[in-house]
Structure formats: structure tokens, C-alpha cells
Symmetry: D2
Subunit: 360 residues, 4 copies
């Protein structure tokens, strides 16, 4: 039980269903003295919001965030921060059909089996709308990490369906990522991806992809072996996002084919610092950050809601047909980029504070 909190020291607890009163988050353990404005939080949320381009869902939610506690005169006070986005009213009759059946690959069936009841309006708690709470909380962590430690977190779309980009992780910039609506920093491949998503959308279908996340300037020493290794917590963070089916740190699955003599990252001296000449490890050794860039990959499956007729089962255990509503995201990747950013920020922030407790 009680699975709605994440983090040990910078701890967030989210709440809210797709069409309940609000989606929100309490951040407990945020350091005092951080200057933060509503605009800074909203800016990250706007990267996640629906309707931001013709390849995202046309639902027009503003996702306006409210600060209800923990920030006084523009500064965090060290007390719990409550951030809320109120939901728009949902018409109950809109769900008269959906409430009677289990949509394929949605959580309708498992929620009903687990809890004996489900809020069937727009997926309820299982809706990806919950991720706005993560992005809101993550925006404060992201700002703190940037301003205090110069830590930079950059996520981008590396693959959509079968279309893959080969991005240089060391030179990639936020500008390049934000230059197009698919958030792939290779502008040429981005066009192919967009075109492919347009086809998928036209077909009433959906498609998945891969997001890469790069974190720069992480100090040496973050991560708490043997279970709360930095990579293990990053993995859990990403795997807790809706639709995620895979996570790789460093060389990942491809790396298993390299013998140790090739995969090992030799230590070298560089400008007086201990560095490694390669980085198959992905910036983490023994679960602790090494000072090299951290990079990981996150696999998102295609969204389950499609505009095609599908076979399924209803509450009476009859085999029936269902057709999704027309306003789904054909490809969730561009909107998931700020969510991956946020989860990375939350993990790094939490581990930074945990590590601080250790050092004199």
C-alpha cells in the first residue's frame, strides 16, 4: 500500500484522477530558501500539456498550476509544498459505454480487480494526467540542481517507431531539442518522425519510441548501494511512468556483447581530474555517480487508446468490440520528454540530499 510517494529525502506524494477535483503533489523535504515562481513551474508543465501541436492530443487542458503551501513570498520555506492543477468537469454520460468494459492494454481490468471499484472517467488514477504532478515537482528540483550545482538534464526523442536518430550526447542542446514538435534534436530525422506520426494518426493508430536522457555535471558520490544505487532509482523512476517498458543505463542491452577488455572504461588524468576515456558505464560505477555524464534510455510503447475497433471483454464477461475516442495522442513521446526530465531531476535531487547527510 501507500505506493504514491517517491523519494526518501526529497519526497513527493502525488494524488488525483483524470477527472476528479484536481491532480496534485506534496513535496516534503524541499530545502528552504529556493526562489521559485509560478511561471517557472508552469513553463515545464507547458512542455507536457495536451494540444501543444498537431501531433499531440487535441484536448485543450491548460494545466494551470497553483501553489497552496510551502512557498512564502516567492521562496521555499522548508515546509511541505502543495502544487495543484484543478481538473475540468467531465460529463459522466461520456463514459456510459467505457465503464462497462475493459479497454485492451489499459488498466481498467487490473484496477477493478485490485480495488473492487474504479473511477472510469478518462482512466481515473491510471491516466497519464498524473504525470503533470511529477513535472510540477520536478521543476523545483531541476531549478535547484541547475542553480546550485550546475547540473543539466536534457531528454530528447531518439526513436519513433522504427525511425532512429543518432545524436551526439556531448553536444546536444535544449535549443536543438525544442526546435521541433517531436523533440528530436536531429532536425532532419525529426521531420521523418513527424511525418510518420502524421501517418499513424491518420490511420487512427498510435506508435511508441525511445527517449534518451543525459545528465551533465553530476558530482561524484551520489547513490546509496546496495539497493538504492543511482541507476536502480533512475530505473524505478522511469519504469513508473505510464507506457514505459524498458530502461537502459550506459551501454545497456547492446553492451552485453562487448568483452570486458572493450567495455571497461580506463581511468585517465585530464586537467588534473580523474576521468575515464570511455563511458560505457553511463556515469555510474557500483551504483555511485563517477562524475562522467549520466545517460540512459527509456522505451515507451504505443499508447493503448486507438481509433480502431478492437476485441475485448465487458463486465458481464462477454466478448465485445470497443473503439477508442478520437482524441488520443498518436505518439506520446514529445509530451513524455519533460516527464523523463522531471523523474531524472527528482532522483538526482533526492540522492544529492541523501548524500549531503553523509559528508562533514
Amino acid at each position: 500500500m501507500s505506493g504514491n510517494s517517491f523519494g526518501h529525502t526529497f519526497k513527493i506524494t502525488t494524488c488525483g484522477e483524470s477527472h476528479g477535483g484536481a491532480v496534485g503533489v506534496i513535496i516534503d523535504g524541499c530545502p528552504a530558501g529556493i526562489k521559485i515562481t509560478l511561471d517557472e513551474i508552469q513553463h515545464e508543465l507547458d512542455r507536457r500539456k495536451p494540444g501543444q501541436s498537431h501531433i499531440t492530443t487535441p484536448r485543450s487542458e491548460t494545466d494551470t498550476i497553483h501553489i497552496l503551501s510551502g512557498i512564502f513570498e516567492g521562496v521555499t520555506t522548508g515546509t511541505p509544498i502543495l502544487l495543484l492543477a484543478y481538473n475540468k468537469d467531465a460529463r459522466s454520460q461520456d463514459y456510459d459505454e467505457l465503464k462497462k468494459l475493459f479497454r485492451p492494454s489499459h488498466a481498467d481490468y487490473t484496477y477493478l480487480m485490485k480495488y473492487g471499484i474504479r473511477d472510469y472517467r478518462g482512466s481515473g488514477r491510471a491516466s497519464a494526467r498524473e504525470t503533470l504532478a511529477r513535472v510540477a515537482a520536478g521543476s523545483i528540483a531541476k531549478k535547484y540542481l541547475k542553480e546550485n550545482l550546475n547540473i543539466e538534464i536534457l531528454s530528447y526523442v531518439e526513436q519513433v517507431g522504427h525511425i532512429k536518430a543518432d545524436i551526439d550526447m556531448q553536444s546536444v542542446s535544449l535549443n536543438a531539442i525544442e526546435e521541433n514538435i517531436i523533440r528530436c534534436p536531429d532536425q532532419k530525422i525529426a521531420k521523418e518522425m513527424i511525418s510518420y506520426v502524421e501517418q499513424i494518426k491518420a490511420a487512427g493508430d498510435s506508435i511508441g519510441g525511445v527517449i534518451r536522457c543525459v545528465v551533465r555535471n553530476v558530482p561524484v558520490g551520489l547513490g546509496e548501494p546496495v539497493f538504492d544505487k543511482l541507476n536502480a532509482d533512475l530505473g524505478k523512476a522511469m519504469l513508473s511512468i505510464n507506457a514505459v517498458k524498458g530502461f537502459e543505463i550506459g551501454s545497456g542491452f547492446a553492451g552485453v556483447e562487448l568483452p570486458g577488455s572493450q567495455h571497461n572504461d580506463p581511468f585517465i588524468m585530464q586537467n588534473g581530474n580523474v576521468r575515464t576515456s570511455s563511458n560505457y558505464a553511463g556515469g555510474i560505477l557500483g551504483g555511485i555517480s563517477s562524475g562522467e555524464d549520466i545517460y540512459c534510455r527509456v522505451a515507451f510503447k504505443s499508447v493503448s487508446t486507438i481509433n480502431k475497433e478492437q476485441a475485448t471483454v465487458n463486465l458481464k464477461n462477454e466478448e465485445v468490440k470497443v473503439r477508442g475516442e478520437g482524441r488520443h495522442d498518436p505518439c506520446v513521446l514529445p509530451r513524455a520528454v519533460p516527464v523523463v526530465d522531471a523523474m531524472a531531476a527528482l532522483v538526482i535531487m533526492d540522492h544529492y540530499l541523501r548524500h549531503k547527510a553523509r559528508i562533514s
Copy 2:
């Protein structure tokens, strides 16, 4: 801090370094009334122990387990269970060279930077010897799940280096897995893998691979969204194992190329039960078990210790050469199989107990 515990309700805390007094684990929250013998625990440990075949490290540790609390007259009492394996003495002078430098891709550097001190004898706390504590604890969970819920956990080697097996997950059996020393249930591919590991060993090198884990008969309803999703906790569990670089649930990275119309798993009725006709989801929907088989894949990189000269840096920040000791595991996969089993058992057990608190 305090990163050495795993689980919420069936909670384990491990301790011990490679060459300290002992490696151990306290299990807190184990249900009372489970019959368990030392032999049953030792049996799982023997699958993990060094020296079990010519392709594992020739170090001869017996890994004999001792029960020091929590089990009375062969039955768990509901109080914390302490399991210990005492270490053999290490000669300090054996480490005179290694203590002065950072072995490539080992945790020597990050541990020293994080803590300001490190136990340099055989990797200290970062040694994979710690996983024996996980296997010991997991053996009790595994037994409980099998006897009370008929849950079966089967892990096996699916890939070694570039050599891949294509195993039918539904028919694979423990016997087939244990029939060869590489623990790949395809006996023909297993021979190729063994032969490849022999070559790697002869070259003083090491190689990685992929372990598949299949869990059968999991009841519907396990998993605590939105953060403690069953897949997220499985991912964290696996990513906390030494050398793991990737985790996939269900269709994983390959699945991102499938449009929703192909990836969605249609619900059907089968013998009066709600089932799905495909299982790209990997047995988990919305973070909650669906009743279908759970399956995942875990990527292990090659072990860092190799018998070749490598470039590195010493404590004086001089660039030097290092050559590993000769007794490493050329391929850790066969010994990692029971560790993956154990982590899966620990996650399922913990979530089963968490879910029990919810149901009337």
C-alpha cells in the same frame, strides 16, 4: 543514506563485505508459520556459489548459511530472521597493490570519493558476494510463494555475448535450465555459449549476456501505483544487482516499433476467465499484475575483472597499468540466475503482502 534495505513489508537489509566477518541479511516482516530448513536455503545458495563449474571462478567458498534468529523449531516466528555466511580470512598483503589504484569499471574510485575510505579487500561492499544475502532471503520468499500461491519463478540465460537462444517461455522448465552449466534451457545453444565462454576465459577476458525471468501464476492485483508499480519495483530490484545495465518488461525496447493496433493485448474469455490473447504487456497493466505470465529481461555487462593489462590511475593521480587476478568469472550469467530468481521472489512476496493489507 540507509540504502541497504529493500522491500516495504517483506523487508530485507543486507550487510557485509567480501572479506569482512560475514555477509548477512535480516528479513523483517516475514509471515510466521513458514516451515523452512537450512538445506532449502543452502540449495539456492549452491546455485550461486563460486567454483560450481569450470566456467565460473575457481575460488572455493562454501557459502555455508547459518540461521541466527527468527526461526524456531524449523518454523518462522514472525520475528526478524538473521541469515549469515561467514567469510574466509583474507590476507591483507594480497591487496597491497590493488589498494593503491582504481581498477577500471570497478567501484574503487566512487566508493573512495563517496565515503573517504574503502575496504579494498576484494571489492569490499561492492563485491558481488553481497548477492548471497539476497539469494538466502529470496529462498524463503520463493518457497512461500510456491507453496501458498503456486507461483513459479524461472530465470535462465537467454544470451551470452552475441549468442542468443530463442526459448519458448510457456514450456520452459527448471530441469531444462539446470541441465547444463550455463543455465540456458536450449541445450544446443547452451553448448555454443559454453564454448564461447571457454574461449573468453582462455583469453583472460570476460563477457556479458541477458537473463530472462518468467513468473507464472501471479494473482491479479499485485502492484501499488503510481510509483510502486510492480514493473517499477521489479526493475529497481534487477538494476540493483551488480553489473546490470538494462531491464525490459514485456515487449521492452523492441516493442516500441509496434503500433497500438498490434501491441494492444485483446481481452478474451478462456475457460470462464478473463485473459488476453497476446501478452506484450508482460503480465502487468497499469503497474498491477493481470494474471498473465510476467516476463522480463535483464542485461548483464561483462565483469570488470579481467586477466589483461589495463590503463588506469592510482591514488597519487598517476597513470599506471593494472592486471586483474586470475580467478575471475569469465561470465557471471550462470551464477546470476539464482540472484534474478531471488530478486523476483522478493518483489512478488513484498507486493503480495502489501496487497493483502488492502483486501477484506
Copy 3:
């Protein structure tokens, strides 16, 4: 850090300052299927609200509660429940004087020293207004315990200043408690108490007292030794309430004078049940409920805000005088009764769910 959560399985996280946007609570881990109305929650809050009688603070806050998530069509869904009471606007200039100094025995000084910043409006996070979040959450636990287990929680005022009532714990009823505004079920002593509080109020002073809490029909077996003993968690719960300086379970401090031959509670058979013929233990043996009534006592000091001139220090470290605002509670006890109820309910509920995970 992260000290704003309470409970392990039925876990609450509160937020909000006296004059921020709202005071609220997320309940994570509430069982699904509990019918609960806004009125039932509001009813408990009304017992705590200011202005309910002439011996409480005349501040007129309505403390209207809102449900923003986790309850659908009047039933809990098993997802996190967000309950909020919006605050009324505070005029910043009202605090121009107070923000420059540290009120004696308030948390002004320690909050500023700890966090480097404080929300000085009405004590900020240190305000007892936070307890409304506890009462709101506790009301759901209380209802569940009553309806499912027939557990009855009754708190009442046993002492105000030097005036003590001697109440029979076995016959006391909610009606007797609610019959007067001081919430002491001895109607004669209650009058004396009220009269004394009127004097204290007229003098611009404040006074403390003791609340007794009795819990009936607790099943045998709740409590998780050796640290999360039922009495230890009850103690922590009560000691976390503003102004509490002491906690006793069973015979408490007076009991230390009894030799074992008198203090031991002999087991007897009564109507086929194992019972004890006395109950010095207070219904808990070895940290686990015994089935006898649980009873404890909670000491509240006088509230710190008084309408008298007091010596103190300001932010410039000058010794100055301060006089409290005129609208304080002369005696917080009657309003603290529902808070004690709530904390008892939260502890029992959490331990009931924790214990459920153990039993087959």
C-alpha cells in the same frame, strides 16, 4: 527531512500553513470501498473548529473541507485521497510587529534558525491549524474502524489546570463528553473547569490540562515489535500534537510505585475468552494489543499566546516586550479532544492494516 508523513500503510502527509493557500492532507493506502460523505468528515472538523464556544478562540473560521481526489461517487477507490480546507486571507500588515521578534515558547525562533526563513503569519506551519488535516484524515479511519471492527475511540478532558475529574473509563459515553463545552464527561467537574477557564481568559492568561483516550474492542494482535509497538506509535502520535508534553499508557507514571505482585494483570477466563482481571497494562502487552481496553493520557501545556506583556528578544538580538493578540484559546483542551481521537484512529487503522498483511 520529510517529517510530514505519519503511518506506514495507512499513511497521511499533511501540508499547509496557518495563512497560506490551504491546509490539506493526502491519505495514501486507504482501503477501497469505504462509503464516506463530506458531512461525516466535516462533523469531526466542527468539533475542532474555532469559535465553537465562549471559552475557545473567537476567530471565526469555518474550516470547510473539500475532497479533491480518491473518492468517487461517495466511495473510496483505493487511490490517494486529497482533503483540503482553504485558508482565509491574512493581512500581511497584521504581522508587522510579530515578524520582527520571537514570541516566547512559540516556534518562531527554532523555525527561523532551522530553515533560515519563516512564514510569520499566524505561526505558519507551526500553527495548530495543521491539526485540522489530522482530524479530516482521522475521520475516515474512525469510521472504518467503527463499521468494520466495532472499535470505539473516546477522548475526553480529565484535567484542566489543577482541577481533575475521576471518570469511570468503562461506562463513559460520547454523549456525556459532548454534553458540555469543555468535553469533560463529569458534568459537575466540567462546570468547575469552565468557570476556571473563564477566569483564566478574563486574566488574559491560558491554562493546560490532560486528555484521556479510551479505545474499546481492539482485536488482539495489533502492534509491530520491537520498535513499532502499538504504545510507542500511540505515544509518537500524541507527542506530535502541538503543546503536548507527556504521554502515559495504562498505569503510567503512578504505576511505577506498584510492585510486580500488584501491577501484574492476572489472566482469567471470562465467558470462554482469555481476559485479565485488572488492566494496568492499558490493553497492550509486549507492544501488541491484548483485547482489553486501551487507555492513555495526554498532557497539554497552556497555549503560549497570552494577552499579557512578556519579555523576549527580537531579530536584532535586542531584549524587547511583546503582548499577544487578544483572540487566543484560553484552554485548548476541548478543541484538542477530536485531535486526540484522530491520532488514535490513525494509529489503530495503520496497525490494523499492517497486521492484516501477516494473517492468512
Copy 4:
């Protein structure tokens, strides 16, 4: 479940029954770099051990402590520390009578009801022998606090039965406490107490008392409102000790009779520091340490084992008689002093590390 851990950042998990293999503790989150010897740990344990004087139990256990992990070359490494004391063999037949019945005011009945099984040898897990694990862990915290922050923790016996000492908390010293076998720093009252315990012992009975704990030089700022207030965590720590029935911080129960005008502690300037001229608060304001001395009182009931015939019930639900073994502690207070010390040290240490995560 999982109630055998205490602390958030400096976290201990204890294990072991009275007559199982060992009693032990894992400390997770201990800072690296603390020099600690076996002798320093053993020294604290010797204050707790049985047989140390003629007024404690004559059982002769040496309680020899062993370090099995986390300390390398005499220095903590930041990894989990396992401390163990092996138990002496118990003869099972010694318990043939006791295993069939429930000793009055012991945990025999509640353990059996909760878990369905109990280790009946010497109270099993409910034995106060478990507190040696707390003392062992506390000794490291105590040393760290003393050496790094000059924090001094002094506990002593203030009351035995009806005999009370009035000790000046500001001048009391460890020497005065250790000067007699009852650990009351008033040497004259101590003699009375010892004489009284001798009478109690001769009568085959037992008696309780009160331990005072004083903590000096605690920095301002420790404590995490609103639930993990320093006083709330101190209270839980003490209430989790066997036989404890009450806890007071600062003015406690007696303080409720003081009006605010007398109870409030005025702030003053003293040698350039903000101080208070009285300390009814007990060194904690709003749950956060104020820099004044922290003091609290802990009530211990008489031990349940007495050498007199008592009425009770057996496993067949028959009313029977029982007589305790002859080797009980007539008064547990002198041996409980180091346990109270240890729990105070563990709480302060944990909160010090938690607070460190907050400050830049």
C-alpha cells in the same frame, strides 16, 4: 509489519531472541570515518549486562559483542555495520512448564495470538535482552555526537518505587551516576533506593521507577515537524523500550497546571546568544531543538517476572497458577539507564543527519 527498524537516516534494524543464536543489529547510514573500537562498544554493554551487582539478576551472561561488517581497520566505512552477541545455549526442558501457559503481564499471550507461534524460551523476541542491540548501536552514535558536536547524554535513576530524588540537572555528572549500583546521582537517596530494592528482592517481588535523561549541547534546529518532531521521536524511542509506561518532555504532566504566564520561557540575550531564562519546554520548541538542554523522564513499571505464585491461564484455557523463576531483576532501572542513553543517542544522531541534508 517490519517494525524492527528505528531511524530514518541513521537506521538500525535489530534481530534476535533471548535464546536463539544471537542478538544483533545492523546500522545502516552510519557516517564513514568514525573511529570505534570493540572496547568502546563493550563498555556501554557492560553497563547493561546482567549480574553486575547484587540487585540485578544473577544470570551471568557476558554479552560479548562482535563486529561482523562495516568497520575496517577500526574505522566505519559508511557501509552497514553488523554487531552481534551470541546467545548461550538454553535447555529446552527448562521451559516445559512455561511453554504451556501465559505468564501474567508478559507478552506470551499476545505473541501467540498475533503470530500463531512463539519462541517460549526466555520470552523469545519479547525479552529485554533485545535492548543490548540498541545499546551496541547507540554507543557509536553517542561517541560521534560527543566527539563531533560535544553533545553529552546523561541518564540516571530519579525514582524507585515511592522513593524520589531531586537532582540538579545542570550539575549532574556521569561520575556521580556511576558511583553507586542503582545509578542515582544523589548518594544518600541511592542508599535508600538500594535498601528498598533489597527488600523487594527478598520478598520475591519487583519494583519500577523513573529514569531522567538530560542531553546537553544539542545544536538549534534538530527535529522535523510536524510528525517527526524531536520530542515525538524521543517519546517513541523510549516507549519502545520494554516495561516503559510513560514519557514526559520538559514540564510534562505537572506543567499542565501552570498558566501560560508562568510556563512560557522568556527569551533573553546571554553572552551574545539567544537563550531562555527558564526551560519548561525541555529544550524543544515546535518540535525543533532550541539549544537549551533537552530533558525528559521515562516511567518503567515493575518487571513482570516475580518469585511469587500468581493466577493465570494456560493454553488449554484452564485457570492455573504460575511461579516465576528465581533469577529475575527485582528492579530493572539501573540496567535500563544505558538503554535510555542509547535511545536518546540514536534519536539525536538520526535527526542530526536528517537536518544536515537541509543545510547548505
